[in-house]
């Protein structure tokens, strides 16, 4: 025979049905010892398996409204009027003895039922006013209500008592109240009967492991109800780190593994550290108001370096360079800016720690006066790494870059000449990205003597920087940089921890 793989609940319902053949839910509840919901659910499952059938039947129940109750006692307004007069009566007189509203209601129905007509303000009875079905309905419901001690809509109206038209008129007159009910009848099928006749055994099944079960030792030899393991799930999202932070921390980890010290610095920097110490000429376009956020404050130039920085800008100082020429203004160098790159932090760190070996990195926010659009934001993360030691060379820089990018997951790296005012040689590393080709990913170089000598640094300094948000867009598949900073919480919930790693 077919194994229907019934749950205990289904078995209990089927047994009840086998007894009742056709049942209402309440009857099943009584026999099966299950609650209503569980019984109904099991009944539906039995129907799916062809062992039972669930028939739905809907019907209407009626009761009297307050007004309907009143008219059941006193008669409908038109009945009251017609019974009260003998012959032609002016409406005027009627309004005096009944209320004008009642007369108003009554006249309409008197005409409609053809119990009377009106001529020039005078009501003329037709002489015939048979009791209508509507009056039968009212009195029937009234009696039922009194008998059952409730005026709620709980009574069926026998079909022979009134036509649909009569009932809808009474509903429209707001004399009746109606409620619709659905009842379900559950009927065992022949298949169900056949199955039940073979005997249904109810074995105890465990839904939930409980402390009692474990303590008592009863857990052995029990039947544990299996779950439908393929059932579709509602996704659950946990709290997590920002995907961008995860990427930044990945880069941080790479530097730490490569033996670098992590450094931090202030957002607000003097032009001295942001530009002048990096041999950025004072009339360089990047220093202008349209590219850099200037502040209404100043910082004193460090006495220790100011003369040397002046000399290096004006004539190269002791570096063997010819400098930029012109006059270097100490006042311009004092002006504070929002750091335009994290190099301001690393160069200050090198000045404070001028003897190698030093390996340091900084991943932090930098600021440029960019209008916000999908690929530009006025603040963005920058990564910066420096290596200072005797015997460091351009070839070591290329090696560091390759190692770093490989660890970032970019397998193919190539180098193009680049230009930055503070490095020489300068290089722009490019990485190969499938679908995009060679993508420029940062800049690097060996710090110029014009940068290192005035700060008392005698060893070569290798430096590289990277726009982190650019990598984030590539790795996180973003089209709009703003998504990093003004994040859609739905995106945060759904972005996988494993993405980009």
């Amino acid at each position: 025979m077919t194994d229907y793989d019934l749950t205990n609940n289904e078995k209990k319902v089927l047994l009840a049905l086998n007894e009742l053949e056709t049942a209402e839910l309440k009857d099943i509840v009584e026999i099966s010892d299950l609650n209503g919901d569980a019984s109904m659910q099991a009944a539906f499952l039995l129907e799916e398996k062809g062992l039972a059938k669930v028939d739905e039947e809907s019907f209407e129940l009626y009761g009297l409204t307050e007004e309907g109750k009143e008219y059941a006692e006193t008669g409908l307004p038109e009945r009251q009027i017609i019974d009260s007069i003998d012959g032609e009566t002016p409406l005027e007189d009627l309004r005096a003895s009944f209320s004008p509203q009642l007369v108003g209601i009554a006249t309409g129905w008197l005409l409609k039922k053809k119990w009377a007509r009106i001529d020039d303000g005078v009501l003329i009875p037709s002489g015939s006013a048979p009791k209508g079905q509507d009056e039968d309905v009212l009195s029937d419901l009234y009696e039922n209500s009194l008998e059952n001690n409730t005026f709620d809509p709980v009574f069926e109206l026998p079909a022979e008592l009134a036509s649909d038209k009569i009932i809808s008129d009474l509903l429209k007159r707001k004399l009746l109240e109606k409620e619709e009910y659905t009842t379900r009848k559950i009927i065992i099928t022949d298949q169900g009967k056949a199955y039940a006749s073979e005997g249904i055994e109810i074995t105890e099944e465990i839904a939930q492991i409980t402390p009692e079960l474990l303590k008592s030792g009863d857990w052995e030899n029990k039947y544990y109800r299996p779950y439908k393991i393929q059932k579709p799930l509602k996704p659950m999202y946990g709290a997590k780190s920002h995907p961008y932070q995860r990427l930044i921390d990945q880069m941080r980890q790479i530097f730490l593994e490569m033996g670098f010290t992590e450094i931090k610095g202030d957002i607000i920097q003097s032009s001295f550290w942001n530009f002048d110490a990096l041999f950025q000429p004072q009339d360089h376009p990047a220093r202008e108001m349209q590219d850099t956020f200037h502040l209404d404050s100043r910082s004193e130039n460090p006495d220790k370096y100011v003369d040397k920085i002046r000399a290096v800008h004006e004539n190269g100082g002791e570096t063997g360079s010819c400098g930029w020429g012109g006059r270097w203004s100490s006042e311009i160098a004092e002006k504070n800016v929002l750091r335009t790159h994290t190099t301001s932090v690393t160069v200050k760190y090198l000045a404070d720690n001028p003897v190698g070996p030093v390996k340091a990195f900084c991943i932090d926010r930098a600021y440029r006066r960019e209008t916000i659009d999908p690929t530009h934001t006025p603040e963005f993360e920058q990564l910066e790494g420096v290596v200072m030691d005797k015997d460091m060379s351009f070839a070591d820089l290329l090696g560091c870059l390759k190692e770093f990018y490989h660890r970032m997951g970019f397998e193919e790296v190539r180098f193009r000449p680049g230009y930055f005012p503070y490095t020489e040689p300068s290089v722009e590393p490019e990485v190969w990205i499938d679908g995009l080709g060679w993508v420029e990913l940062g800049g690097a170089g060996v710090f110029r003597k014009e940068v290192t000598t005035p700060l008392g640094i005698t060893e070569p300094v290798l430096a590289w920087g990277l726009g982190v948000s650019r990598v984030a867009m590539l790795k996180l598949g973003l089209k709009d940089l703003r998504e990093l900073y003004q994040s859609d919480i739905d995106w945060l919930r759904k972005s996988e921890i494993g993405k980009g790693i």
Binding site: S241, E262, G265, P357, A395, C400, D490
Partner: protein, 547 residues
Amino acid sequence: MPVITVDSKDLETLSGIDRQKIIDNVSMIGAEVERVEEETIDIEFFPNRPDLYSVEGVSRAMKAFFGMSPGLKKYTINPPQIEITIKKEVKDVRPVLGCAVVRGLSFTSASIKSLMDLQEDLHWALGRGRKKVSIGVHDMTGITAPFTYTTESPDYAFVPLDHTEKMTMTEILEKHAKGVKFAHLVKDMTKYPIIKDANGNVLSFPPIINGTLTTVTESTKELFIDVTGTSKEVYTALNIVVAALAERGGIIEAVKIIDESANKKESETILPNLEPLVQIIAQEEIETHLGFKLSADEVIQSLAKMGFDATLISKNPAAFEVLIPAYRADILHKYDVIEDVAIGYGYANIPAKLPENYTAGKSNPLSVSRLAASEAMISLGYSQVMPFTLTSEKIHFENMRRPVTNDVTYVIHPISEDQTMIRTTILPGLLEILALNRHRELPQKIFEVGEVAVNAKNKQKIAAVSIHHAANFTEMSEVVDAFLRETKTEYEIKESDDPAFLPGRVADIYVGGKKVGVFGELHPGVLTAFELGYAVIGFEADMSLIF
């Protein structure tokens, strides 16, 4: 950075190199091909190489790079036939002048455009918007030497380029397109610089506009070039322009410049001066800086590819005399020459290596505290966000019902009214993120550990907010308690009058007797200011006093 549009046919003709070969290789001398069209190539060059800002410059560099014309390019200069005098008056306003004549030219519309583009790019790269350098080129047909560089009063009139009527210099500055654009460069002058010929005809009103008399057309055969300015870059710009014209077959002729205010010995200069600069560089310096061994021949050949002449002047230790072209603006130091050795050798051929020095990695304490605090908050069901740090008084104070404080850093020229200051607290930024996520499912719980600037110094703070229909003070008290327990911080709470929160549902957090933060139910006035439709609870604390 300047993007040069090159007529690819012109470039092929001039260089004799296939355009695809140039497209494929030009980036290896320091450039980026931006766009390739049917007839043109857009190439972006670096700001330190203005000598490449023309078809002629690119052609010269490529011919050297591919070995068709390696080494220093020599240009012949014919002796001067023309004189120009720098009057004393002009010394106070725009003192530096360089001039040259180029004869035997034949222009096409493409080559005129290349010359005009070169001028504009030099104005940007060397001239800083014509301030330090401005260039005028003149058809010599209608003018007569000798010339004079002098000044005129603002009501002096002549017919400027692109006009047919005389205008006074004042009118030019007020009405002529170029005049309006560059008027700021002469605003402090009482008399304006001017170059005139022997008959008083105006060549140029530098740095504003040329006279119409010397307009260059396709029939122009001979050019007079003036470069005026305030610094030595004037001479570099002059060299770049004449060298470019010579690449096209022009014959350079010097100009004698007589400076009235200089002493006798220095009063006469013959320009242009295309004599190469000389650097002596030891081979060891090259090898140390670049980090690999090269033979003397390799050094010489690498430099030749980049347009330098190098000769071995001593063998043990090896040293080179390097001749640097006079049109190169970027050679400030011998390391700039060493870079060109590397570029000529090819970055791809350099054996990359890893430094062998040992160092131990070390986290910054601020990162250690950020990571610990983040773990604590994530474990409490809060997700991390990373809002902008630039904000406005409206968001930061007004929306928060808080008075403006005096520890704020403002930017002088904000881009928009939304970004006028650096935040001193994090909470407003979190509320903005909630506002952007009104349509997303609740509850939403977010936090940030981030930096703010208080009195121009960075400070690390933590803040968190939670929005849902039943968010209340008790919930946030428990979060704060759990966070501070996880971070091993003993704390006390005291009554708070922070106006951002609902009175009676707000508390200050104290650690070691010092106030470190605040938490509670955000004030309904704050919620409506951020257009939030449910209760929000939050906290913010100074991390430096917790960790």
